[in-house]
C-alpha cells in the first residue's frame, strides 16, 4: 500500500510541475508569441534556488523567490529587442537563448559543468506545488476579462490592428514574457528540491518542446487548457507503460512518440486543444443533425 501511495504522490507532483511549466508557455502563447525560452528560464531558476539552499543555507521561501525573480530579470533585456521580431524569428531567438543557457551551465565549473548539482535538500512538498499552480491559475483567470486580458486577446488575433486601437503591444508581450519566465523559474526551484538534482541536460531543447506540447495539446486559448494538457500527457505514458513494455517499446521513446503524435493530431484536427473537444463534438453533432433534418 505505502508504495502505491508514494508512486501516486510522485505522479501528482509531476502533473503539478508540468502544469506550471505549461502555464509559463501559455503566458506568451496567449498573446500570439511562440517562445521556446522557458526551459532556459527554468534552468536559471533551478540553479539559483539550489545554489542558495546548498551553499548559502538560505530558507526555502527565499530560494523560491530568488528562483522566480532572477529569470524574470533576465527576461526583460532579452524580451525587449526580441519580442519585436516576427513570429518565426522570435522562435529562433528563443531556441538560441535556451541553448546559450544550457551551454553556459555545461561550461561553468562552479556548478560542476555537465554533471550539475546533486544532493539538493528535499524541501518541496506536494501541497507547495499545487498551491503555486492554483495561484498562477487564479491570476490568469482574473486576467481574463480585465482590460489587459482583452488587449492580450486582441494582440493574439491581430497585433497590427490592436496597435491602432491604442494597445502598446510590445509592452504587453514583454510583460507576459517576463511573467512566463518567473513561473518557469519557480517551477525549476520546486522541481530541483523534489528530485535532489539539477543538470544542464534536463533543461535543453526537448524540455522546452515538452512544455509547449502540454500547452498546445491542452488548449492555449484558456487558462486551464495547458494544465489539462500537462495532466493528460503526464499520466498517459505512465498508464500505457505496461502495454508499451508488452509491445517491446521503451518508456522514453514511447513518451516522446505519444507527445509528438498527439501534438500533430491536435494541431491538425483540434487546434484549440483537448479542452475544446466537448464544444467541437457538440458542433459536429449539431451539424450532423441539421444535415439529417434537411436530407
Amino acid at each position: 500500500m505505502p508504495g502505491f501511495l508514494l508512486a501516486y504522490q510522485s505522479l501528482l507532483a509531476f502533473i503539478g510541475l508540468n502544469g506550471l511549466l505549461a502555464l509559463s508557455v501559455y503566458c506568451t502563447l496567449c498573446c500570439g508569441q511562440l517562445s521556446l525560452a522557458n526551459a532556459g528560464f527554468m534552468a536559471i531558476g533551478a540553479y539559483t534556488g539550489a545554489l542558495l539552499t546548498q551553499n548559502a543555507h538560505a530558507p526555502f521561501p527565499l530560494a523560491l523567490l530568488a528562483g522566480a525573480l532572477l529569470p524574470a530579470l533576465v527576461a526583460v533585456p532579452l524580451g525587449l529587442p526580441v519580442l519585436r521580431l516576427r513570429g518565426v524569428f522570435l522562435a529562433i531567438a528563443t531556441i538560441g537563448f535556451g541553448e546559450v543557457v544550457r551551454l553556459s551551465f555545461v561550461n561553468w565549473s562552479y556548478t560542476n559543468g555537465a554533471l550539475g548539482l546533486v544532493a539538493i535538500p528535499r524541501k518541496t512538498d506536494l501541497w507547495m506545488i499545487w498551491v503555486a499552480l492554483a495561484a498562477v491559475m487564479f491570476g490568469l483567470a482574473r486576467l481574463r476579462g480585465s482590460r489587459a486580458g482583452y488587449a492580450l486577446e486582441a494582440i493574439r488575433e491581430d497585433e497590427a490592428a490592436a496597435r491602432t486601437m491604442g494597445i502598446p503591444s510590445t509592452q504587453y508581450k514583454v510583460a507576459m514574457f517576463v511573467l512566463g519566465a518567473a513561473i518557469a523559474g519557480l517551477a525549476g526551484v520546486l522541481e530541483a528540491h523534489l528530485t535532489y538534482m539539477v543538470s544542464p541536460g534536463g533543461y535543453g531543447f526537448s524540455r522546452a518542446v515538452d512544455m509547449l506540447v502540454y500547452a498546445v495539446v491542452g488548449g492555449d486559448t484558456i487558462f486551464y487548457g495547458p494544465v489539462a494538457g500537462a495532466a493528460f500527457l503526464t499520466v498517459l505514458p505512465e498508464a500505457l507503460r505496461g502495454a508499451g513494455r508488452a509491445l517491446g517499446l521503451a518508456p522514453g521513446p514511447l513518451r516522446l512518440f505519444l507527445n509528438g503524435a498527439i501534438l500533430l493530431a491536435v494541431i491538425l484536427f483540434l487546434p484549440n486543444g483537448i479542452v475544446s473537444l466537448p464544444r467541437t463534438l457538440r458542433a459536429l453533432r449539431l451539424r450532423r443533425a441539421s444535415r439529417a433534418a434537411l436530407g
Binding site: 482574473r142 476579462g145 489587459a148 491581430d158 490592428a161 496597435r163 491602432t164 486601437m165 491604442g166 486559448t221
Partner: protein, 252 residues
Amino acid sequence: MLLSVEDLERSFGGVRALDGAALQVKPGEVHGLIGPNGAGKTTLLNVVSGLFRPTRGRIVMGGERIDGMPPYRIAALGITRTYQNIRLFPGLSALENVMVGAHLVRRGDTFRRLFFLPSARADEARAREAAMRLLARVGLADRAHHLVSALSYGDQRRVEIARALASAPRLVLLDEPTAGMNAAEVQAVAAVIRQVASEGQSVVLVEHNVQLVMSVSDRITVLNFGKVIAHGEPRHVASHPEVIAAYLGSEA
C-alpha cells in the same frame, strides 16, 4: 485645423503610392476621400494611422506632429479607423470587439480584479454598457454576443465602426465602410456618420459609393496617382473636369 497632411510621399517597391498627397480636416467635419482604384486612398489612411511611415511629408494632429509615431501613440492622440478588408478579431464576439476598442478609455484593472474589488466590477459593467450602446447605435444590439465570424459582411462592417468609436476619438478614418451593404444599411451608416460629426468628432470617409460621399460630406478631397487633383465642397468637386476625367478614364 484638426488634421493636417502635407506633401506626403510613400512608395512600395517601385510604385509611388503617395506622391505629394495632402489633406486638411476640421473638427466636427465629415471629409470625403475619393478617387479611382489605386489612387492611394487606403495608403493615405495607413500612413496617417501609423501602419506605414511616409518617406516624406508632415502629418499634424491637433498641433502635434505624428508622422513616424507608432500606431498606438497615434491612437492615443484620438485617431481610430476601420479597414477596407475588415480586421475584426475573429475569435471574439461583437461586444468583445467593441470592448477592445475601448482600451484607451478604460482603467487598468488587473490588480483590482485579483482582490475582487467592487470598483473593478463597476468599471467592467460600465465598459460593457458603453459597448452595448455603441452596438445599438449601429443597429446591432441584438447580435452583440455573436462571434463576429458568424455575422454578415454588412454587420461586420458596422461592428468595426462601433469599435472605432469606442474610444471617443477626435477623428475616425473609415475605409469603405459600406462596401457590400444594401441601400437601407448604407443609409443607416450615413446617419451614424452625420451624428458622429454633429457631436464634434471628425470623420474621413473613403468610399466608392460617390452618391453617399456627396450627400454626407462637408468637404471632399480627390486623389489620383497619389496626388490631390481636386478638393473643396461636394458641388465644386463633382463638376471639376479633372475629377470627371479621372473617373471616366478609369471606367474605360
